[in-house]
């Protein structure tokens, strides 16, 4: 499953430009003005563009994490591992390390793909230009990490894979939208789902500029802090939850 995820990620990275230009080419046949073809891959914009597209695939990563943990419950191997002499905290820590490594690997794929694409699609570049917006790599890491830790939290709480998937979907698509609709935007943007989503904004493309819309081209520290806070909160709650619980 991890392999499928990596392949999907690469397909998105290397196919994104073709896809976008294809859509634009179709649109321009009927549009009164001709749309300019453009590249997603030039430095320094490549980082945000790729990170933004890769963000759509974080659900796969979350599912890997979710199955990885609910398996320990359905096979009762968590029980056995603790009987064999693991402490409860060690067990949770081992899962956390896996989640961190998985997110790091995903960010590494982003970095290498961005480097290859940027180098081959940018005509003139300096190291400074190439790395100008490289902040989107750690931001992307934080995005997938926070989402995966949220999935880990739900998996540890619910224990069964189907229920955990349901709970994750229920929260993301129903509960959080309802809550965010009923509280002010300034607070709602710090709900977990929103904070994760806001971390990397829609890239400003030539197309967006034509329509006069402008999105953030940087990472807001507040969003990053919110994500870090949720990482700590969810992890802390798991440790707390399993201090006195029967397994």
């Amino acid at each position: 499953m991890t392999g499928i995820y990596a392949a999907l990620l690469l397909m998105v990275f290397f196919g994104a430009e073709k896809l976008v230009n294809g859509v634009l080419a179709n649109a321009s046949t009927s549009a009164p003005v001709t749309m300019p073809g453009f590249t997603l891959y030039s430095f320094p914009y490549v980082w945000q563009n790729l990170a933004f597209f890769a963000g759509f695939l974080k659900i796969f990563l979350a599912l890997i994490v979710l199955f990885f943990i609910t398996n320990e419950f359905s096979n009762k191997t968590m029980r056995q591992n603790i009987m064999n002499g693991m402490s409860r905290n060690q067990f949770i820590l081992s899962k956390l390390i896996f989640v961190i490594l998985l997110s790091l690997a995903s960010a590494a794929i982003l970095f290498v793909s961005g480097l290859i694409l940027g180098l081959s699609y940018t005509e003139e570049y300096t190291t400074a230009l190439a790395l100008q917006k490289a902040i989107f790599i750690p931001a992307y890491f934080l995005e997938v990490l926070t989402f995966s830790i949220m999935a880990m939290f739900i998996a540890f709480l619910v224990k069964r894979s189907i229920l955990a998937i349901g709970a994750l979907a229920l929260y993301s698509y129903i509960i959080e939208p309802i809550i965010s609709g009923s509280i002010p935007d300034s607070v709602a943007k710090f709900l977990p789902g929103e904070a994760i989503g806001n971390l990397i904004d829609i890239p400003n493309s030539a197309l967006m500029k034509m329509f006069g819309v402008s999105f953030r081209e940087n990472v807001s520290p507040l969003d990053a802090i919110a994500c870090l806070f949720y990482c700590c909160l969810f992890t802390g709650l798991i440790f707390l939850f399993y201090r006195r619980k029967d397994i």
């Binding site: 096979n75 029980r79 603790i82 009987m83 064999n84 002499g85 060690q90 397994i247």
Partner: protein
């Protein structure tokens, strides 16, 4: 005196309003093969679960080797609880390697252990392809990894065929002879009687009795008597102080004894009163009859 291997001190645990374990106290010393005997749902697995930190007690505590429990102490214990638990998609040997990793044991003992439980030929097969008996053997193999000082076995012969049951029992006796401490939970009286040196009888979370198996078997046995005139015999024996209960079974008078008596003395005493016995025999009580006696007492 040597530090006990395990001290259980007034453990209690409830699931909702069902008391699974009620003020359970027990001490186990090194080298004992300790049977925890009780019907299904009597609290055996709950007790073992608490001792292995997968269940949390409501009250009371326990000490392994004189120390408050932590994860390091569990690495000195090999355990098989209820059912074999392994990663189904990994091979037998890989699963045992994971156990060795946790216990800090070396991989080179794994082959020997697999041979001991008769799984060496299937060591590269995935766990999910194993039959119930093979899974059970692998679980016993896992419990033996890392030279444990204590072995906890919960219904170890569950689901095995008679030949395997005999093999596993011999294995337990072997292990016990090496000076290891074994804690064996079972609802099979025969199993406890055959393998254990000590026994605790548990029902509805309460400890009804605990002590040496031979004490249970020797003490308070029964005396069978037959004579021509049963009513005279009955009146005569009712004067004996060591009789706790007397009843007639199939024209035989059965006396339950509070303490051991010499049948020769009984014979002489009755002969002195002019009662000649046609049959006298001392019946050793089986663990089963004692067990059932205790349980019926606990129901009242």
């Amino acid at each position: 005196m040597q530090t006990p291997v395990l001290e259980i001190d007034h453990l209690s645990k409830s699931y909702g309003h069902i008391k699974a374990l009620d003020d359970f106290t027990l001490t186990i010393h090194k080298g004992e093969v300790f049977g925890i005997l009780g019907p299904n749902g009597s609290g055996k697995t709950t007790t073992l679960g608490i001792l292995l930190d997968i269940l949390k007690a409501d009250r009371g505590n326990y000490r392994w080797f004189g120390k408050l429990p932590d994860s390091y102490v569990r690495r000195r214990i090999g355990a098989l609880l209820e059912q074999p638990l392994f990663y189904p998609y990994l091979s037998a040997v890989r699963n045992l390697e994971l156990v060795a990793d946790i216990k800090g044991a070396k991989y080179d003992e794994i082959d020997g252990i697999l041979k001991k439980v008769g799984l060496y030929e299937r060591k590269t097969s995935k766990f999910k392809t194993f039959s119930l008996g093979m899974k059970q053997r692998l679980a016993i193999a896992a419990a033996l990894i890392g030279n444990p000082e204590v072995l906890i076995l919960d219904e170890p012969t569950n689901g095995l065929d008679p030949k395997s049951i005999a093999e596993i029992r011999n294995l337990i006796i072997d292990i016990a002879n090496k000076g290891l401490t074994v804690i064996l939970a079972s609802h099979l009286l025969d199993e406890v009687q055959k393998t254990c040196s000590h026994v605790a009888i548990l029902d509805k979370g309460k400890s009804l009795h605990s002590g040496k198996v031979e004490d249970v078997l020797n003490s308070s046995s029964q005396l069978e008597l037959k004579s021509e005139n049963m009513s005279i015999l009955k009146t005569a024996t009712s004067k004996f102080e060591f009789v706790s209960e007397s009843k007639v079974e199939k024209e035989t008078l059965v006396l339950s004894l509070k303490q051991d008596v010499d049948p020769a003395w009984v014979n002489k005493e009755l002969a002195g009163q002019g009662i000649y016995l046609s049959h006298i025999s001392l019946r050793k009580r089986s663990l089963e009859s004692y067990f059932l006696e205790l349980l019926s007492g606990n129901d009242a």
